[in-house]
Symmetry: C2
Subunit: 195 residues, 2 copies
């Protein structure tokens, strides 16, 4: 019944992070407990606190392990690329415990280093790179103005989607993505188009 062997090091660590993720998924951020995670991982709190110095630190580790991969869409059209990208990110959001991000923002507030780590992950430089690739390709095709776009424009689509996500409860309606792209992002990209 009991596991014959005692796990150690990275094997154990991996098991704990996975247990934390499961706890977060099933209980949500607000109700997830260290005891629950320890029980789930078949270990004790002692072992948890040896590795992570606080609860939000472990939760952030669990989030980072989740590491969803987002590919660079390449449909041949800027608009469709952006819609595909945001659509994919929307899917990723839907897999997250609903209060994880806001909970981490709240609970890392008094730990600058941890907050920065969270912010870096959530604001995801990776996604910005993807957006930049999409825009560069579009510029090469002559669909948008040439030259590298300013940082704000690159961040814009993801910032708007994240804002929508944080300020809502259930899953985001699909229309949100196309609305953001068609009403805000695309009009900004087209050099001298109407509306």
């Amino acid at each position: 019944m009991e596991q014959a062997k005692r796990r150690r090091g990275s094997t154990l660590e991996e098991a704990i992070v996975e247990a934390a993720w499961n706890e977060l998924r099933e209980a949500g951020y607000a109700k997830a407990t260290m005891n629950g995670i320890a029980r789930r991982a078949g270990t004790s709190k002692h072992v948890l606190y040896r590795r992570w110095k606080s609860q939000p630190e472990l939760f952030l580790a669990a989030l980072k392990r989740f590491a969803a991969t987002v590919e660079v869409p390449d449909t041949g059209d800027v608009r469709d690329d952006l819609v595909a990208l945001l659509g994919r990110i929307r899917q990723v959001f839907d897999l997250l415990p609903r209060d994880l991000i806001s909970g981490l923002i709240t609970d890392t507030q008094d730990d600058p280093a941890l907050f920065e780590e969270m912010r870096a992950y959530v604001m995801g430089a990776g996604v910005h790179d993807i957006t930049r690739v999409i825009l560069r390709r579009a510029a090469d095709r002559g669909q948008i103005e040439p030259g590298p776009p300013c940082a704000r424009i690159v961040r814009l689509p993801i910032d708007l989607l994240r804002n929508e996500y944080l300020m809502s409860r259930g899953p985001l309606p699909a229309g949100t993505v196309t609305e953001i792209i068609d009403d805000v992002v695309m009009p900004l990209l087209r050099p001298a188009a109407r509306r």
Copy 2:
């Protein structure tokens, strides 16, 4: 020493909400406690729970009481109006306990009605109205394209500022406002301008 009289009804209620606000300001959302608020208001938890059925509900009441007034700027120029508006909202943000909004988002997640109340207040229809007035005036002056702008555009400035606020710690740098307006909002408003 002790107050001779026993407060009741709205007098007491007002005192409690104010105590809650002070507690939030001094301790922050994460560390504010019901006991602390009761002590501060010179009453007991019993009285608190008679009026608000949970902690986040009281916190939201305290936030709503805060009710900062935002006037409609009228400088004669769209850009300056928008900069003034966002600048004012930035000031309001700076008066808020740093983790209040994210904390409320997290802790109202399992109470749909309360979440909606929070969302309605934070997304503030009032600010959208102000933006609409600014844009209409600008259209009248011929500074931007005529006709009512779509809802997304109206929300855009505030959404971007709120996103910046939620995803950061200390007070927002002043440059944030002008960046949002000049890099994103204004290029969208000018009918056929460059960049």
